[in-house]
Every structure is written in C-alpha cells, then in structure tokens.
Symmetry: C2
Subunit: 207 residues, 2 copies
DNA sequence: GTCTATAATGGGATAGAC
DNA sequence: GTCTATCCCATTATAGAC
C-alpha cells in the first residue's frame, strides 16, 4: 500500500477526517496556525477566519477550542502509525528497518503532516491532562516499532547504546528538524538527511 | 574555575542577576512557571504570587511580561556559554572536547539551569521577533564551540556525518532529555547519559 | 450549518497612595 | 518598592434568528 492508499483506508474507517470535508479542512488550518503562532496565541476567530466562517459557527463542529487541538493530535498519530508500519514492513534487514523508520519520521515531520507533527511536539502542554493520557496510549503503539528494531540492532552488535535511550534521543533529534530543515531551499534532500542521521550513528550509506 | 566561581564572576560583571536578589529570585520562579505551564498560560499574577508580591508591583521591575521572558533567556545563555567554554578548555582531545560539550549541555538542561533551558527551547516563539534576533546573536557564540569541535573530529575521520547537521541533531536530542530524563529516580546518572549519547555516535566509553 | 450579537471572564498594564 | 484599585481590552463560549 502506498501512502495515498493508506490515507484513504483510514478515512473510510473514520479514523482520520477527509481533508476535503469541512472538519478535515479546519483541522489542517488549525495545525498550521497552532504551529505558526502556538495554540494559546491562536484565537477561535483566527481558526474560523482560516476556513471562512464566523467564530460562533466553530462551536457547531467542536465543543471547545481544546477539542480541536486534541483532534489534530489524535488524527496525526493514527496516520503516522500506519505510515510507519508500512515503511517498516517493506524493509528486510534491521539496518534497513531503522533507515525506513528514520525516513518515515522525517517525512512525517517535514512533509504533508509536518505542521501537525510540530503541534504534537510543541503544544503538548496545552492539552488537558485527561487528553494527554488518551493521546499517550496511541503513541505507545508506534514507539514499540522503534524499540523492537533498535533492540534487534543491539543484539547484532551494530548499536552500542541502550535502545530506549537511543529512541528518545532520536525523537528529539528528528522532531527538532522542523525548526531548521528547509528542503525547498536546495541543499539536503529528505533522503540525504536520512543518510546523515544514519551516518551520525555510524551507519555508512550503501553504495 | 569551577561552576560556582564562574557564576560569581558573571554576577559581579552584572551579566547575570544574583539569585538571592529580588530580580534573580523572580527570574528563577519565572523560569519554573514558564516551563511548567508555558509562557502564555502563566499570568503576571502567577509570577507576582511566586515571589510574594502583588501583580502591580511586578511592573516596577520589568516594563512588560515579555521582558521577563527575554531576561530569563539572555541570562541563561550567558551562564551556559561560560560553563561550556570552561568545560571544553579542560579537555585535551577532540573526542574529549565533544564529550565535555555533551556533558555540559546535559548538565545545563537537567541541572540547576534546567528550567530556564527548557524555556529557551519551548517558548522561543513567544518572544517577539526583535528579541529573538538579540538572543540569537548570543547563541551563535556557543554554537561555534560545537562546530569547531565536530569539524576537528570529522577531519580525523572519527565522524561520518556533516558537523552542521550533527550539531542540530544533538541540539534536539539533548534538549529533548528535559521531557523524559529523571536522574533522581535512580537509573542513569548524568555521566551515564553522556556515555550513552557518545555510544549512540559510535564512541565507546573509555575503560 | 452559518449568521449576528453579546454574555462572561480573565488578562496585561497603569495610577496614585503609602 | 509595594499596595490597592481599576482601566481597557481580547478572549471563549452561548443564544437565538435565519
């Protein structure tokens, strides 16, 4: 399954909103605004204006502003878990699985879903504690993909450090790319950045 | 010079506030509140209450709330630049210099100045653009320490990736430790975490 | 399902007494 | 240098018409 097919499957299961529908469009604009200005500095008027309605009308679709933030996060995690699973399944060796995971996370962070991923990282504290707990459960699913792969490399003697620590270091390193990586300005491609990440860990690119 | 001597030197030069003075105490409480609740969700009433005064009295010390955020960031960078420079000067080889930098940044992020460092990372967008520019200039000084060290390792063939990319990856990885690393809960010491970081890059610990 | 109008609250900042 | 009192404004959310 390619990325488009995965997205369509999730939409038909009602796990993520159709980006062409009213709800999906709002969530997309919300992700952009939350990333650019931060959740607190984005007003419901901003959100409404972004989809061309009045602020009062927003509350027909969502009960509170926070519900919008939560929906952005939940749908983003669902989509990216599916994408990451698919990327990993297509790889054969542990090294290639790790590369696939790094590539997929960089794609999530810097591609189509980049705005929503940045929100997930930087607006975490704006979510109520109850919502945080719900979202954390979803996150655990795809964290396990990483840990299994890193443990395999460790067993093969190709990784010197603790898989748990490495995953957390990589979470920070890869998320942080949203603050500086600008593929459109020429320079490094997404594959190039993936190679650099692997090289930092001592995995030379294949030739 | 040990860390305490460095701090005292900076205080006597008026580059950072005395943590026992009124201003220093407020900045310390502000860092804690900004990290815990975020800048936007922290009110001037919260800030005033944390040091036992009324909100109106705050504006005798700072003209605006944003000025407090900026002061937290500026003083933190000044202190950490000095600490990092000292840590690096004490090391002989490139590998040891890198280890010293990693150790110093982990100490900054997770030690006494940890709250302020977290603010620097997560509240960046709350700073006005003019203030961002000022703070960025200060940051460039210590970024150069990293780049020089990483370039030396690269020249020695001990680092496979681009120094520039590696520094940015490490910025993310090390900053992110504030979200999960809890030294007090037993487990990993700061030196242990430093070793893990080096190991992730293929540098085995000395024995 | 969107509009207009507005309620209700909480925020940053100021003024002047002490 | 801190207090009390308060201004002024922006914000989230609601109500009821269309």
């Amino acid at each position: 399954m390619n990325p488009t097919q995965i997205l369509n499957a999730l939409i038909s299961e009602n796990l993520v909103s159709d980006p062409n529908g009213a709800r999906g469009r709002l969530l997309k604009e919300a992700a952009r605004l939350f990333r650019d200005k931060g959740y607190e500095r984005t007003t419901v008027r901003d959100l409404a204006a972004a989809v061309g309605i009045q602020s009062g009308s927003l509350f027909h679709h969502f009960r509170t502003k926070e519900e919008i933030l939560k929906a952005v996060m939940v749908e983003t995690i669902r989509l990216n878990t599916a994408l990451m699973q698919a990327a990993m399944d297509a790889a054969a060796t542990s090294r290639d699985k790790l590369r696939a995971l790094v590539r997929a996370e960089l794609e999530s962070v810097n591609g189509q879903t980049g705005e929503a991923m940045a929100v997930l990282v930087f607006e975490w504290r704006s979510l109520s504690e109850e919502s945080q707990a719900e979202v954390l459960e979803l996150r655990d699913i795809y964290e396990q993909l990483w840990l299994d792969t890193l443990q395999a490399l460790r067993d093969e003697g190709r990784l010197l450090a603790d898989p748990f620590v490495v995953r957390r270091m990589l979470t920070g390193a890869l998320s942080w790319t949203v603050t500086w990586y600008r593929p459109e300005r020429g320079g490094l491609s997404l594959d190039g950045l993936t190679d650099q990440t692997m090289a930092m860990m001592g995995f030379a690119p294949e030739h």
